[in-house]
Symmetry: C2
């Protein structure tokens, strides 16, 4: 839908046309269209959305837009929207809204739903409990397929998904029946005979990354969440799992580039927030790099004697940094996807050792030849080639070890990426380089 046409119709108060447009549009697209409107047009347009779509549009809006609307909603309007929203979307919204708005919302929600929401709000951020919904279809083992279908027809319309139904016996999960099983089975089959009893589930405190991993591994549409007593308390649905996969990758990439992760998009984040997210790491890294600088001053005599030595510093530092970040990136990603564990440390180190032999040899020969041809100095070529081999090997060892150690001590492995590895490797490569150079050229420090 073209925004300008929509704005024009809204400005001309052609409500019938606006309503028709909103009627055929997808809720996600309406939310994005509304985000471009002026404050006073927003409430007007929102009230023209067909009733059955309003809650879905509202769920898909950003927090600032939701706040704006809540401010102008009557109690009745707010109540209607909240009644139609899924539990997990409501909790999601409440987690990010200012406290006074949260209070107003909780007051508008019916008591039973409010109690459930309060429970959900208490789960740690990024846990299975915090992203689950408590609205799922539960069946009993003694039901027949026909009875189950009748039950779903009655309660299903208000549930976020009906495609995986859960068979409960005194709140414990005894089996799973898919809608596909129900729709393709005969009417008189008992649920207990139809249900799958190999159940994949998670605890309420499981990390959301682990939850998303299970969806990817087992091709799930929904995943039951059990409490400490093994009683079923909710489900995570696949749409939330996809969001987790996307968010976790974004978070890892930010951390790997030395930025404190933000949940907002690039343009939603203000200049000050961007600066605030970036400065701490830059400062730490800058001061660490200053140490490398101090080390260089120890070799002033060396490069006073052979000034050409200085010109190879960037190449050695960069190559070391790149080699280290290659290794750390692969290990960090492997850890995130559950493919690499701490117990694989020695296997990984041995692998990186062999890779660095190949890579180091290749780079050393390429660069050694270049220097031999350009400067016709075999000693210099030897110094650079040897420094390269040692730097490559050391940086790959550091790059694969640090993320695994971070994991072991429950730090996020993603912080052990390019920026930090580069800074650490810099110091090492400078030390290696000048020590080799002083030895080969018999320089005094």
């Amino acid at each position: 839908m073209n925004r300008d046409i929509f704005m024009e119709l809204l400005a001309r108060r052609e409500f019938k046309a606006v309503r028709s447009i909103l009627d055929v549009m997808n809720a996600v697209d309406i939310a994005s269209l509304l985000s471009q409107l002026e404050d006073r047009e927003l409430a007007l347009a929102f009230r023209l959305i067909p009733k059955d779509k309003a809650a879905e549009v509202f769920s898909n809006m950003g927090n600032s837009l939701q706040s704006q609307l809540i401010d102008v909603f009557t109690e009745k309007e707010l109540k209607e929207i909240l009644d139609d929203m899924y539990m997990d979307d409501t909790v999601d919204m409440l987690e990010d809204l200012p406290a006074n708005v949260v209070t107003r919302i909780l007051e508008a929600i019916e008591p039973q739903k409010r109690a459930q929401i309060n429970v959900l709000l208490r789960y740690p951020e990024d846990s299975a409990g915090s992203i689950m919904t408590t609205e799922y279809v539960d069946l009993r083992g003694h039901m027949t397929v026909k009875e189950a279908m009748a039950h779903i027809k009655q309660v299903g319309i208000h549930k976020e998904t009906i495609y995986t139904c859960y068979v409960l016996e005194s709140r414990k999960l005894s089996g799973i029946v898919t809608a596909k099983d129900l729709m393709t089975a005969e009417d008189d089959v008992r649920i207990a005979d139809l249900m799958e009893t190999e159940i994949i589930s998670v605890g309420t405190h499981a990390d959301q990354e682990e939850v998303a991993g299970l969806f990817a591994k087992y091709d799930l549409l929904a995943l039951p969440v059990l409490d400490a007593d093994e009683c079923m308390v909710g489900i995570v649905t696949v749409d939330d799992a996809i969001d987790v996969v996307v968010d976790e990758a974004t978070e890892d990439m930010s951390l790997m580039a030395a930025i404190n992760p933000s949940e907002k998009t690039y343009f939603e984040t203000s200049v000050w927030e961007h600066a605030k997210n970036r400065i701490p790491w830059l400062l730490i890294l800058m001061l660490t790099a200053a140490i490398t600088g101090t080390i260089i001053t120890r070799y002033e005599n060396a490069f006073a004697a052979i000034p050409l030595l200085v010109s190879f510093i960037p190449m050695l530092m960069d190559t070391g940094g790149n080699c280290g970040s290659q290794s750390s990136t692969l290990i960090i990603r492997g850890i995130a996807l559950g493919e690499i564990q701490f117990r694989d440390l020695f296997k990984a180190v041995f692998k990186e050792f062999r890779i660095s032999m190949v890579v180091g040899a290749f780079l050393a020969i390429a660069n050694g030849l270049r220097i031999l041809i350009m400067y016709r100095d075999s000693h210099l070529a030897f110094v650079i080639a040897l420094s390269l081999v040692v730097t490559v090997m050391l940086s790959k060892m550091i790059g694969c070890t640090l993320p695994l150690l971070a994991k072991k001590v429950h730090l996020d492995p993603a912080i052990m990426a390019a920026p930090l590895i580069t800074t650490i490797v810099d110091t090492c490569s400078i030390l290696i380089y000048f020590n080799i150079a002083t030895m080969v050229f018999h320089l005094t420090i």
Copy 2:
């Protein structure tokens, strides 16, 4: 399942126990258990898997394991497995198997299915066509809910998903009905009255990243794929969309760390392959860094006069590289998630300009004070502080511009990440630093 117990039972030929274990295990877990077996045990164990689960286990195996099994399968066994496999899984497998195995498989598949597979195999890699399946439930508008349910009961068992059904009129897609709609509607409602006509679809040649983006945006379970004539040819299911999200993030992270992406896991990739994926970029970056080195030699007189100048090179280079990679990472991720377009270039540059003012000022003051205190040299402090501000600003400009330019000329923006940005920024920071230094200290070049 404990691997050792399983192996022990298998070795003792206690087939009944093994079969019972396989009966209760999940197909994905069986595939992972079997991957740890010796060659000769593999075929034996596979034949003990219950018939209705064998194809699913096979689909979840790696390519080398699949090849091994195909080698020992009889024609009959192969045919049975292939008949039970979903179309998209078969195509996935065929894309990665050696040619002689592919021939044998295609011969074993029934002619009609083979024709469809051959069509699917012709779609470009990573396109919607290459990840879709042609097995979906199609309905007609004139059917009633009861007729539709009867139709699904008859054909649904062989379809990958029945949760989104497609209403076709002469091969064109006229609407979508979800299983939830069917299960909660009355028996005599017409499909044409029930169906949703706001349809989100993609073309066969759409990039899989775009496809995955639609799943995340619209919370879809399946997405219809249309050919150039707008006729429906298949669907992409949500489980494949999750795999795409994971794979694309991994691919971007690899590229961003100067590694050619691999579809295999870290430990599955051999030492030689790892080396081969890493050397090309390292070589390019190393030779580019050599240019920075050559530039440094132009300033030999400068650091012969003030050797201390050399010691600030790592700090300036690292900070410039880190600033540049922060900006480029956020822009690259924003592009991948569809949040930033090429038309936002000036908006992004202006934003980075303001951020770099804040960040640059902060770092310059911190470092200027440190140098003033450590060396009591206000000229030096001024040189470093000014160089920092200019370097930070320039590197953030470069970091945000290059990924967007890459996107414009249809290169993968992810290559414009830390390693390349760092190398480019290095040269700039050295030039900035030595020019400022020679001016302030009145040095001759």
